[in-house]
C-alpha cells in the first residue's frame, strides 16, 4: 500500500495468450480484408519477383563481359554489355517503382477498412464489453496494431515471398554455374532455418507482451487526462508520473528483450552465409588456379552470392515483423470476435396488443450482469412495474440500489436476464434496436456531449428532418437558452465530451436532447442533479408539459423531482417494494420516507 497509485496504473486488461498458436494461421485471418486488393497485391509480388530476378541476371551479364569481350579485347562487345546492363538496370528500377505504386493506395485502404471495421464493431458491442475494457487497449489496437499490419502487408508479406524466390533462383543460378561451389553456399541453410524457427517462437511471446504493455501505457495516459482534476486536486501528478514511469520502464525491459532476440538472429544470419562465401572464395580460387573454373564464373558466382546477401540478411527482421503482425492480428481479432448486440428480432407474439398492456411494462424482470461472479445474487429480481401510457413514474431507491441499471434495460443497453419488458404490449426484444431506441429517449445522469455543435448535439435525439423550431423548443423546455448566448449560438462546438460547459449546462443540453424528438417513452436518470434550485424549478415547470402526454420513467433522488411524476416506485433489495403517489408512500412506507427526508434514522434500509 505504500504507493497505491502504482497499482492503480498497472492493471493489464488483456492477458497474453500462452497456448500454442501458429503465426501463419493467425495471419490468414487477414484474408477477408486483403481479398479486395488481392489482384494488385499479387501483381505487385509478381513484379517484385521479376525485378529481383532481373537484379540476379546482372552478374551473369558481368560474367559474359569478363569472359567474352574483356578476355577477347573486344571494345565493341564491351559497349554492348554495358548497354545490356543499363537496360536491365532501368527495368529493375521501374519494376520496383511499379510494385510500390501498385500497393501504396490499396494497403492504406486495407488499413483504413480494418480501422473502420473495428470502430463500427466497437460501437455495436454490448455496453458490458466497454465496462470491462479500458479504452486505451482498444485504441492501441486501432492505431499501432493496424499500422504494424499495414507494414506487414507492404514488406514482410511480399518480401518473404520475393526473397524466398530470389534466394531459390540465385541458388539455382549458382548451382548451374558450379555445383560444388553452389553446395558450399547452401551449407548454412539448415542451421539458419533452425535458428529462425527457434527465434520465431520466442519472439512471438515477447512481442505480444510488449504490445499489451503499450496498451496499458495508453490506458494510464488516458486516465491521467480524464481524471486530471482529481490528480490536480490532490496534487498527485508526481505519483501518477511515477506510476507511468514504472510502466514505461517495464515496457523498455520487454523491448530490450525483443532487441536481444533480434540481435541474436541477426548475428547468426550475418555470420553463417558470410562464412560460406569465404569458403566458396577459397575453393573457387583454387579451382581457377587449377584451370577448372573461369575467372568470369568466379566473379559472377561471388557477385550472385553477394547479391543474395540482402535477401538472406533480411529474413531475420522480416520474420520479426511478421511475428509482430501476427500478434497485432491476434489482438485485433480478440475484439472483433466479441459478439455484437445481435440484431435478430424475436417474433412478435399474440397479434393485437391489449389495451391493458399499453405503456411501459416490466414483467418478472430479473437481471444479473453477464460478467458478474457466478453464484452472486442478481442485482434486480422479480421486477414488476407498469407505467401507464402518458403516465410519469418516478423511480426512487437508495444509492446503488440498481435504479440506473433498471433504466438501462429499457433501451436495451443491457439485456434482461429473464422476464420481459414491453412497450405497448410489444416485447422490446421483438423490435429492432433502432426502432426501440427511436421510441425511447434517454437522458443519462452523466451528460456526455459530443465534439460537434450544440445544435447537433441536441438534434441527435430527433428524427431526421427536425429543424430549428424543434431545437428551440427543446432548449426552452430544458432551460438551456444559454446556448443562444454562446459565441456562435447553437452552432458553437462543444469540446471533447463538452468539457468546456459546466455540469449543469451539459445536463440541460442532455435533457434537451432527450425531449427534442417528442418521444413516446422517456427515461430520465436523475436528470436535474446538477441544477440549482431556481433552474430546477424552471425545468420542472417546462418538463411537466412535456410529460403530460409522455410515458416516462424518472430516476429521482429528491422530492422536487419526484413531484414531476404521477406515481412513485420504490426500488429496494432488487425489487419494486412499493408503488403509489408520493404522499401515499410518505405516509405508509418508512424506507421511502427516510429516502425522501433523511430523517427516521432507525428505519435505515436493510439492503
Amino acid at each position: 500500500m505504500s504507493v497505491p497509485v502504482r497499482t492503480l496504473a498497472v492493471m493489464p486488461t488483456t492477458r497474453a495468450t500462452t497456448e500454442d498458436r501458429s503465426a501463419v494461421r493467425t495471419l490468414l485471418r487477414l484474408w477477408p480484408y486483403v481479398r479486395p486488393v488481392r489482384a494488385r497485391l499479387f501483381t505487385a509480388a509478381f513484379v517484385a519477383i521479376v525485378a529481383s530476378c532481373t537484379g540476379l541476371v546482372i552478374p551473369l551479364v558481368l560474367k559474359w563481359i569478363v569472359d567474352g569481350p574483356v578476355a577477347d579485347r573486344d571494345p565493341a562487345g564491351v559497349w554492348l554489355g554495358a548497354l545490356y546492363l543499363l537496360l536491365l538496370g532501368i527495368a529493375e528500377a521501374v519494376l520496383f517503382g511499379i510494385r510500390r505504386w501498385l500497393v501504396a493506395r490499396p494497403l492504406s485502404h486495407v488499413e483504413a477498412e480494418m480501422r473502420a471495421g473495428l470502430y463500427g464493431h466497437l460501437q455495436r458491442l454490448p455496453v458490458a464489453f466497454h465496462d470491462r475494457w479500458a479504452s486505451g487497449q482498444l485504441l492501441s489496437r486501432g492505431t499501432t496494431d493496424l499500422m504494424l499490419l499495414r507494414m506487414f502487408l507492404a514488406f514482410p508479406l511480399t518480401f518473404l515471398l520475393v526473397n524466398g524466390v530470389t534466394i531459390l533462383v540465385g541458388v539455382v543460378i549458382m548451382l548451374m554455374q558450379d555445383w560444388v561451389l553452389g553446395l558450399v553456399i547452401l551449407g548454412p541453410a539448415i542451421p539458419v532455418m533452425w535458428t529462425c524457427a527457434v527465434f520465431e517462437r520466442r519472439y512471438a511471446e515477447v512481442a505480444r507482451r510488449a504490445q499489451d504493455q503499450v496498451g496499458d501505457l495508453t490506458t494510464v495516459v488516458e486516465e491521467s487526462v480524464l481524471g486530471i482534476r482529481i490528480i490536480k486536486g490532490f496534487g498527485r501528478h508526481r505519483s501518477q508520473a511515477r506510476a507511468f514511469r514504472e510502466l514505461s520502464v517495464t515496457l523498455r525491459g520487454t523491448e530490450l528483450r525483443k532487441a536481444r532476440l533480434l540481435a541474436m538472429i541477426w548475428g547468426v544470419i550475418v555470420t553463417l552465409p558470410e562464412l560460406a562465401i569465404g569458403a566458396a572464395l577459397v575453393l573457387g580460387a583454387v579451382r581457377v588456379a587449377d584451370g577448372g573454373l573461369s575467372a568470369g564464373t568466379l566473379v559472377a558466382f561471388l557477385s550472385t552470392a553477394l547479391a543474395l546477401r540482402w535477401p538472406v540478411d533480411s529474413i531475420g527482421f522480416l520474420l520479426a515483423m511478421s511475428q509482430e503482425a501476427a500478434t497485432a492480428t491476434e489482438r485485433y481479432f480478440e475484439v472483433m470476435d466479441e459478439v455484437r448486440e445481435d440484431d435478430a428480432v424475436a417474433p412478435r407474439e399474440g397479434g393485437q396488443a391489449r389495451a391493458a398492456d399499453a405503456g411501459l411494462r416490466f414483467e418478472n424482470v430479473l437481471f444479473r450482469y453477464p460478467d458478474a461472479p457466478p453464484g452472486s445474487p442478481p442485482l434486480l429480481t422479480r421486477i414488476d412495474l407498469h407505467v401507464r401510457p402518458g403516465e410519469s413514474m418516478a423511480l426512487v431507491g437508495a444509492t446503488g440500489s440498481g435504479k440506473t441499471t433498471l433504466t438501462a434495460l429499457v433501451p436495451r443497453l443491457h439485456e434482461v436476464t429473464s422476464g420481459r419488458i414491453t412497450l405497448n404490449g410489444v416485447d422490446i426484444t421483438a423490435m429492432p434496436r433502432e426502432e426501440l431506441r427511436a421510441k425511447v429517449a434517454v437522458a443519462f445522469e452523466e451528460p456526455t456531449l459530443f465534439s460537434t455543435s450544440v445544435g447537433e448535439n441536441v438534434l441527435m435525439g430527433a428524427p431526421e428532418g427536425a429543424g430549428r423550431p424543434d431545437l428551440d423548443r427543446a432548449l426552452a423546455v430544458a432551460q438551456a437558452d444559454f446556448a443562444h448566448a454562446l459565441p456562435q449560438g447553437t452552432d458553437t462546438r462543444v469540446g471533447e465530451q463538452g468539457l468546456s460547459l459546466s455540469g449543469g449546462q451539459r445536463q440541460r443540453l442532455a435533457l434537451a436532447r432527450a425531449v427534442v424528438g417528442r418521444p413516446e417513452f422517456l427515461v430520465l436518470d436523475d436528470p436535474l442533479s446538477a441544477l440549482d434550485v431556481h433552474t430546477e424549478a424552471a425545468v420542472e415547470a417546462a418538463l411537466r408539459q412535456v410529460l403530460a402526454d409522455t410515458t416516462a420513467l424518472i430516476v429521482a433522488h429528491r422530492p422536487s423531482t419526484v413531484l414531476l411524476a404521477d406515481r412513485v416506485a420504490l426500488l429496494s433489495g432488487g425489487r419494486i417494494a412499493a408503488v403509489g403517489t408520493h404522499q401515499e408512500l410518505l405516509r405508509t412506507n418508512a424506507e421511502y420516507a427516510h429516502l425522501m427526508s433523511g430523517d427516521f434514522e432507525d428505519t435505515e434500509d436493510s439492503r
Binding site: 558470410e274 588456379a289 433501451p411 433523511g598
Partner: protein
C-alpha cells in the same frame, strides 16, 4: 497565437462564456482545433538534441560498433580482388600462403561482422529505448503539469496520440532509421574510398553519381515532410474521434449514433488513408529515381572499367572488386529512403510533441518554493484571504470583478448562487486551478503561487462533482487522497462518509477492481469514494464543489453528519445547490454575476428579506 495561448482560461464550469469567450474551439483558425500548437523555431531539433545529449557516450560507442561492423563487412570484395589477382597466380606457383591468408581473413571478417552486429543491435536498442523512456516521461509529466484549462482544450485523444503514435514514429526512427543512416553514410564513405583507392577514375565516376542522388534526396525530403505532417494530424483526428466514441458509448447507443459516427469516422479515416497513400507514393517515386541513377552509374562504371581491362590498363581482379563494391554502394539507397521515411514521420511527430512541450503551464510551480507557517491553533484549519483578486479571460470577459474576502481559519462557508454566478471560479482560484488576473490568494498569509504542489495540497483539496475512478481497486482510488495511508486509514475514511457498507458488499470488498467483474459502481457511490478520498487527504482547507449532487438524501445527510465532525476546525468552502448544506455552514456567501452580494450567518440571512431568504424558501418548497 503565441505560446501563452494555453493560459487563457476556458469558459467553463458555471460561467457563461462571454461574447469573446475562448474555449469553445469553434474558431476555424484556432491552433487547438487544427492541432498545430506553435513551437518556437528550432524546438524540434532542440528536443531531439536534448533527448540524445545524456546518452552521447553510449551513442558514440554504438556508432563505433557499427563502424567496425561495416569495416568487417566491406573487406570482403577486397579479399576477392586479392584472391583473383594475387592468390590465384601464387597458388599456381604452389605458394599456398596467400590463399590461406584469404581464407583466414574471410573467416575472421565473417565472425567479426556477426559478433559486432549483435553487439551493435543490443547497444543501439538500449540507446533508443532510453530516449523513448525519456520522451514518454517528458510528455506525460509535462501534460500533468499543464493546467486544467489546457486539458479542456487539448482533448485527451490528442494527448494520447502524442504519447503513443508520435512516440512510436520516433521509435521507428531510432530502431531502424538511425542504423540505416549510419550504415548508408558509412558504406558510402568506405566504398567510395575503396573505389578511389582501387582505381581513381572508377571511383570518380561513382562519386559523381552522388550529386544527382543528393538532389533526389533533397526533393524527396521536402515533399515527404509535407505529407507526413498532414498524416500525423490526420491520425490524431482519428484518435480523438475514436476515444470520444468509446468513452461515450452509452449515449452513442441510446441515440442511435452508430451510423452517423461511422460516417464521420469514415471521413477522418479516409483523410488518413489518403495522406498515408501519399506518403507511400512519395517513397515509390524516390525509389525509382534513386535506382535509376544507381543502375545507370553501375552500367557506366562497368563500361569504363571493362573497356580499360580490355585495353590492358586495368587488372581484372580490380574490376571484379569494383563491381562487387558498386552493388553494395547502391544497395543502401533504398534504405536511405527508409531512413528519410522514418525521419520525416518522426520529425512531424516530434514537431507536435515539441509544440506540446513548449506550452507553459498557466499555473506554474514556484521558482522558489515557499512553505506554510506552522499551524497556529491545535486545529487543522488555515485562514484564507482573497486580496484584491480579480479574474477574467485574457480576451477580456471579466468573470470576477475585483473583490476582497477573508475566511477565518476553521470556518465553514457555503457559497450559493445561480448557475453562472462565479461560484466555481472562486473555488478554482482557491484550489489554484487558475491564478487570479490580479491580486493574490493567501493561505495563512502565504501566496498560493509560492507553494510547491505537495505543500499546496496539504493546504487545499478540492472535490468536484465528476467523480472519476481510475482503474485499480476501490482502496487504491481512495488512497489517492493520501498515498501512504494504511488500510485502516482508508476504511476509517470510508466509514466516516458512509461508503463502507457498499464497498464491503462488493465482490472483493476494498480490493474490488473497479473495471473487473462486479466492480460496477454507481454515480452516487463514486461520489462517496471521492469524499473518502478528500477525507483521507486531511487538508487544512477543503473545497466541495457540487460534491453531493448524485447522492440520495440519506446519503447526503450521512455525508453532512460526517462533515460536521470532519470539518470541525478545518476551513471549508462548500458549493451546493441543495441548501441543506447550509445547515452545517457558519457563514453563507451569495454570489451573483461574479460578485458577492450577501454575506452573513445563515440564520441572519434566512430571517432577512434578501436573495438567500428567497432561495431558501424555494428550496424548502422543493422538499415538500
Amino acid at each position: 497565437m503565441t505560446t501563452t495561448t494555453a493560459s487563457t482560461p476556458t469558459a467553463e464550469d458555471d460561467e457563461l462564456p462571454g461574447p469573446q469567450g475562448q474555449g469553445t474551439g469553434s474558431d476555424p483558425g484556432d491552433v487547438f482545433d487544427r492541432d498545430v500548437l506553435p513551437a518556437p523555431p528550432g524546438a524540434t531539433a532542440a528536443l531531439l538534441r536534448s533527448l540524445l545529449a545524456p546518452l552521447r557516450a553510449r551513442a558514440v560507442v554504438t556508432t563505433l560498433l557499427l563502424l567496425l561492423q561495416q569495416a568487417a563487412v566491406q573487406v570482403g570484395p577486397l579479399l576477392v580482388a586479392y584472391a583473383i589477382d594475387s592468390a590465384v597466380p601464387a597458388f599456381r606457383e604452389h605458394r599456398h600462403g596467400p590463399l590461406i591468408a584469404v581464407g583466414v581473413g574471410y573467416l575472421l571478417c565473417a565472425l567479426a561482422s556477426g559478433v559486432l552486429q549483435f553487439a551493435f543491435i543490443e547497444a543501439s536498442a538500449r540507446v533508443s529505448q532510453d530516449v523513448l523512456l525519456d520522451l514518454r516521461g517528458r510528455i506525460f509529466r509535462h501534460a500533468q503539469a499543464l493546467s486544467v484549462d489546457f486539458h479542456e482544450r487539448y482533448t485527451s485523444g490528442r494527448l494520447i496520440s502524442r504519447s503513443t503514435t508520435d512516440v512510436e514514429s520516433l521509435r521507428e526512427l531510432l530502431n531502424d532509421g538511425l542504423q540505416e543512416l549510419v550504415t548508408v553514410v558509412l558504406s558510402f564513405v568506405y566504398i567510395s574510398a575503396m573505389l578511389l583507392w582501387l582505381d581513381l577514375s572508377l571511383g570518380a565516376v561513382a562519386v559523381a553519381s552522388f550529386v544527382p542522388l543528393y538532389l533526389l534526396v533533397r526533393v524527396y525530403q521536402r515533399r515527404a515532410g509535407r505529407v507526413y505532417r498532414a498524416r500525423s494530424t490526420a491520425i490524431a483526428a482519428v484518435i480523438v474521434k475514436f476515444v470520444e466514441t468509446m468513452n461515450g458509448v452509452r449515449p452513442v447507443r441510446a441515440f442511435r449514433r452508430e451510423a452517423a459516427n461511422d460516417a464521420e469516422f469514415a471521413v477522418l479515416n479516409r483523410r488518413h488513408e489518403r495522406t498515408n497513400g501519399d506518403a507511400l507514393l512519395e517513397m515509390a517515386r524516390y525509389v525509382v529515381g534513386s535506382r535509376l541513377v544507381a543502375n545507370t552509374a553501375v552500367a557506366g562504371i562497368v563500361l569504363w572499367g571493362a573497356y580499360r581491362v580490355a585495353s590492358g590498363s586495368l587488372a581484372l581482379g580490380v574490376l571484379a572488386a569494383a563491381v562487387l563494391y558498386l552493388r553494395r554502394l547502391y544497395d543502401p539507397i533504398d534504405r536511405l529512403g527508409m531512413f528519410l521515411n522514418s525521419y520525416q514521420s518522426a520529425a512531424a511527430s516530434l514537431e507536435k510533441v515539441a509544440g506540446l512541450l513548449a506550452q507553459t503551464p498557466s499555473v506554474p510551480e514556484p521558482a522558489v518554493p515557499g512553505e506554510l507557517p506552522p499551524l497556529k491553533g491545535d486545529f487543522p484549519g488555515r485562514e484564507v484571504v482573497f486580496d484584491g483578486v480579480r479574474f477574467g479571460y485574457r480576451t477580456g470577459g471579466e468573470v470576477l470583478p475585483r473583490f476582497d474576502l477573508t475566511l477565518p481559519a476553521g470556518q465553514t462557508v457555503a457559497v450559493v448562487g445561480a448557475t453562472g454566478a462565479g461560484k466555481s471560479t472562486l473555488a478554482k482560484l482557491l484550489a489554484r486551478f487558475y491564478d487570479p488576473s490580479e491580486g493574490r490568494v493567501l493561505l495563512d498569509g502565504v501566496d498560493l503561487r509560492e507553494l510547491p504542489v505537495p505543500e499546496l495540497r496539504r493546504g487545499v483539496v478540492m472535490v468536484t462533482q465528476e467523480a472519476f475512478l481510475f482503474s485499480g481497486t476501490v482502496a487504491d482510488n481512495i488512497a489517492i487522497g493520501r498515498p501512504d495511508a494504511t488500510r485502516e486509514d482508508i476504511e476509517r475514511a470510508a466509514k466516516a462518509i458512509g461508503a463502507h457498507e457498499f464497498i464491503s458488499a462488493l465482490p472483493d470488498g476494498y480490493d474490488t477492481d473497479v473495471r473487473k467483474r462486479g466492480g460496477r459502481i454507481s454515480a452516487g457511490q463514486r461520489q462517496l469514494v471521492a469524499f473518502a478520498r478528500a477525507l483521507l487527504a486531511d487538508p487544512a482547507v477543503l473545497i466541495l464543489d457540487e460534491a453531493t449532487s448524485s447522492l440520495d438524501i440519506p446519503g447526503e445527510r450521512a455525508v453532512q453528519r460526517a462533515m460536521s465532525t470532519v470539518l470541525r476546525g478545518r476551513t471549508a468552502v462548500v458549493i451546493a445547490h441543495r441548501l441543506s448544506t447550509v445547515e452545517i455552514a457558519d457563514r453563507v456567501l451569495v454570489m451573483e454575476h461574479g460578485r458577492i452580494v450577501e454575506d452573513g450567518r445563515p440564520e441572519e440571512l434566512i430571517g432577512g428579506t434578501g436573495r438567500f431568504a428567497d432561495l431558501h424558501r424555494a428550496w424548502r418548497d422543493s422538499l415538500a
